[in-house]
Subunit: 198 residues, 2 copies
């Protein structure tokens, strides 16, 4: 498909990359506001909007969250079954999460798991934030803390659980992760029937 | 915040509405292709892309899926606890799902729940599709079939589960669902601390 006629939406989807290393370049508050706004406007089950975001730029708070996350990740990795640990090793995934401190801004996204369709809703919201960050020329990563309790250190009420911690910042553009061709992931009317034009 | 300078991404996020009633107006195949492309490009845990989409425009297939979903919904509603049933009644939610037949196109989104971060990944993908549909001037709805088994009738391998069935079509523009103000859903550095400018 030609990219020349893509809308900005499809272009942002195409341009989005997950970054794990961030530059020190400060991020404008207006950009963060638009990213938060993109989340605020997300749909939710019964329009309950069962979420709360904490925008973090205080270095001490970021440092503290990094320590909590790395501590939880270390426990998680230690208790993971062998197959999962092999997968971590193969993908150079370690409990160390320096991006939580290096990114100029973190957005911690909390949600109430008892709300209807809470998990689908909050991940649609996170997708909105990731695309708006791309539109701003910024990078992010949908990092899901493994078992870390981030509500208490941020004073977030106990009914909320953390869905993701989004680092936001400028970055050297990461390489594109290849995608499967349409013929392998899409069918027409029944599994295996090609989409027209394939 | 002014909307005049919004990017197309934020504008699509702002314009998106969930529609339950669709017009007969046909949908161009190119628009569906771009919606599917928006899904194909979604990020996923370890880039596994653990999904398959079935694009359905065959009236018999749509009719069959509607019957399966309505049957499953009827059982789900009957077995729901009293509190949930009251919620359904209060929100005029019934087991009847005519939009599954009336929308010119359905996109059934399946995913492999055993892949890493499968649920977050597939809901980011669905958000991409919803925004691209909006960009095309189309409407959709992230409908999650309650307990319906949609893989077997579409020939989808058993390892996949359905995440959502997305009706796609033109519609009379639904009213805007009000959103909570930023001050109620966002904080700066600690819960309850206002975002600058609030």
């Amino acid at each position: 498909m030609s990219t020349s006629s893509d809308s900005q939406v499809l272009q942002a989807i195409r341009d989005r990359r997950s970054a794990r290393e961030y530059l020190d370049t400060p991020v404008k508050k207006e950009a963060i506001r638009r990213i938060v706004e993109a989340g605020r406007l997300a749909p939710s089950g019964a329009n309950r909007q069962p979420w709360h975001f904490v925008v973090i730029d205080d270095p001490e708070v970021k440092h503290n969250l990094r320590l909590i996350c790395e501590d939880a990740e270390a426990r998680y990795y230690k208790n993971a079954d062998e197959e999962l640990r092999e997968w971590f090793t193969a993908h150079s995934v370690t409990p160390s999460k320096p991006f939580l401190e290096r990114a100029p801004v973190l957005i911690a996204v909390f949600f109430d798991p008892h709300a209807p369709y809470a998990i689908p809703s909050v991940w649609i919201l996170i997708a909105h934030m990731l695309l708006q960050a791309t539109q701003e020329g910024l990078y992010s990563l949908p990092y899901t803390p493994s078992g870390a309790e981030l509500g208490p250190p941020l004073g977030v009420p106990l009914k909320y659980r953390v869905a993701a911690l989004l680092p936001i910042g400028y970055a050297e553009r990461p390489a594109c992760q290849p995608r499967l061709p349409l013929s392998q992931i899409a069918s027409s009317n029944a599994f295996g029937m090609p989409i027209e034009g394939d």
